[in-house]
Symmetry: C2
């Protein structure tokens, strides 16, 4: 039981030195990790092979899905992808040490607000071993120590990658103990209680998995449990645009959190638009569930039940609802949605403005597909995750989600007593940056 | 039991409309509240009188401290202070709707990151009725709905102020239900479970009180449980500056969180500096507790025990420790401190840089008093609180601590399918703002 506590303490201790490590050291460490992984592809694939052998057994017994098996499997191409992404993290701007503001409080008394790392991050994820280098490189770049627990199916792969990362980074001067590997569920349970040492959790995995984490810790969680995304096609929509976006949002990659789960159509154009879209959707293999009105238009659709409206299918299934207008669409999004990403298709600026203002989601799209909601597409350089939390960071989160700031006040013997009471000196509060 | 849930639901509903309310409406409401409070001073003082009568009884029975009684007591001056601060909140810049960034993802596809309110704030505080207009004005200005629970000793005062605020603001078009008053401890317990509706808690009160809140909810808490602030006097300090700052940090207002609790002195100058500072400290009525070395220099000091080093006295008591240098000082601050505010006094830039980099606190002072750590002095316009959390907002927090952002993507029929695979279009990721 003491083991995780020791790891957390070691990480906390390392995080102090890591927080002020120069960009040059961090980047050299990232490049060194990249090279070491590149030079050890065979050893990595061997370790992965041990995991795969065990996984095959589980698949044959029906205890592991083929999808999970695929995600577990590394290839030399995948490893080269890891190497490339490590190098690209090295080339990103350092998020630490940015001066967010600088104010003269009075002559000779200057206040700066400067970004610093959060401290210790807890990363918990399932199956995929490529998350180990990904998360650890983002933590290192942002000056954070990290405790990570990957899927037990990937134990050998994770251990191998962890070892390479630890050795290469510490060899370049990154404080010893900055990266810690946890291997059992019990260790995760223990970690969830260590709010004294761990300041942010980044879980990656299924809805149930993220929800479990959220419900069993007081440590803030950066992530999202569900992506129940909507597209609303307004009466003033360009129906060609609407068709393209609906097909993209549902079919381009249905297994992901920013894919559409519910389509809403304004009643005035419902007949025309659903007639237009139903065959392309059926051809793409989409199963349609509708409300009464939608089912009257689309004969092959089944009636949706109440639970369906808040369901994340992550699959070729789509709810269709005919609504009276943008107000009802907004009201339903805020009721049934998950605050992830929702879109309006309209040429009417007023309707769009109302939608953008009133939809309470981390990303709101106007005449664009929900599928754009993603750190890479948003140009964030790297994605730590997508957050549906309402504090700290929202939507696709880049490296800036792993930093906070510190206030630094530099005076020349300034005391508060001079600024109170009679003859009190006045603050100048002059913005310098 | 259902009551608090109903209040939270009503607040959540109001928060949607409130989030897009124009600055003009919010400011008119704030000014209307100010006028109504100004015109009802007598009624407010009458209501406060009822609370005071009951409080006097409790004081005479030894069940309420004189300090709490003083904080409970309103006067026409205090009410006029409230009115003034409401008008000053109206004059602040609206924190909502600020464009944090704008990026062209591709031709005709523009991404904006715009500040929005957090949603529903839970405010819990003790005794002082002036917190009701203060917190509600900050929430209103930042577009947040609020559930608030004040001290039960102030029930009549709080109810009167709440009624005036609700009526004046809703009369100006602020969505009904945006402000909700809770009156019992049971209601607070219930509120702490409503993480589905409430996105941030702002507790104000004693250490135990804030700690209780932190330990009994999954809702993020903006605040600080303790302020164990240090001043380290380096061997290269200007001792005149050191003396002024030590006296200010300890004696100017010892009851507050940014007052110093522990003084550390470099061993090379400990004799000289402690000789210089001890009499002024004793004259100010400060009780000194030291380590062995400090006690050898200051005869009248008592020896400190291990617990003292992490104690927040909020009183004229000071720990004194002789240290070997800046490294030990930093190490002790990170071990015994509360991450609030810590200062170094030195003319040596290298020592100062090391201290600033390595002290893991929300505010770090160089040759300035810890007492400057405050939203007003930092020029934030208004102070929501001081946070020792490591995400979202840290140190003195202004209105910007009550907002988050939303991503808005405006396209012209853009779909992700065009940006993947062969012949994929490339993102431009051009910074526009």
């Amino acid at each position: 039981m003491a083991l995780v506590l020791d790891k957390a303490r070691a990480a906390r201790k390392a995080s102090i030195g890591l927080s002020s490590l120069g960009s040059d050291v961090k980047n050299r460490a990232l490049l060194h990790i990249a090279t070491d992984i590149e030079e050890n592809i065979e050893e990595i694939l061997d370790a992965n092979g041990v995991d795969l052998a065990e996984a095959e057994r589980l698949v044959s017994q029906g205890r592991l899905s083929n999808a999970l098996y695929d995600r577990l499997k590394l290839s030399s191409d995948k490893v080269r992808g890891i190497v490339e992404s490590l190098r690209s993290v090295a080339s990103l701007e350092d998020p630490v040490g940015r001066v967010l503001s600088k104010t003269e409080l009075d002559m000779g008394l200057e206040l700066s607000k400067v970004t610093v790392p959060i401290g210790v991050i807890g990363a918990v994820f399932e199956s995929r071993p490529d998350v180990v280098p990904q998360i650890s490189s983002l933590c290192l770049k942002s000056g954070n120590a990290v405790l990570m627990k990957g899927g037990s199916e990937a134990a050998h792969s994770n251990r191998m990658l962890y070892g390479l990362i630890k050795e290469a980074s510490e060899g370049e001067g990154v404080p010893e103990g900055w990266i810690q590997l946890l291997e059992t569920r019990e260790e995760v349970s223990e970690m969830l209680n260590l709010d004294e040492y761990i300041s942010l959790l980044v879980p990656r995995g299924s809805n149930q998995f993220v929800k479990y984490i959220q419900n069993h810790t007081r440590i803030p969680v950066l992530g999202h449990a569900a992506g129940v995304c909507h597209v609303y096609v307004d009466k003033d929509a360009d129906l060609k645009i609407a068709k393209d976006i609906v097909l993209d949002a549902k079919c381009q990659y249905p297994a992901v959190c920013n894919a559409m789960e519910t389509l809403m159509v304004h009643e005035e154009i419902a007949g025309e638009f659903l007639d237009l879209i139903k065959d392309p959707l059926f051809s793409a293999g989409v199963d349609l569930k509708g409300d009464r009105k939608a089912c009257n238009i689309i004969e092959k659709a089944n009636e949706a039940c109440e639970e369906d409206w808040s369901r994340e299918y992550n699959d070729l299934v789509l709810n269709v609802k005919v609504v009276s207008g943008v107000e009802e669409a907004v009201e339903r999004i805020n009721r049934y949605g998950s605050g992830h990403t929702d879109a309006i298709i309209t040429e009417n600026k007023e309707a769009a403005d109302y939608f953008i203002r009133s939809v309470d989601s981390s990303s709101v799209m106007w005449n664009a597909s929900t599928r754009f909601s993603d750190g890479f597409r948003y140009g964030l350089g790297a994605e730590v995750g997508i957050s549906t939390s309402r504090i700290h960071a929202r939507g696709p989160v880049g490296l800036e989600g792993l930093v906070i700031y510190k206030w630094i006040l530099h005076g020349h013997g300034h005391v508060v007593a001079d600024y109170v009471g009679r003859n009190a000196k006045k603050f100048t509060h002059k913005e310098l940056v």
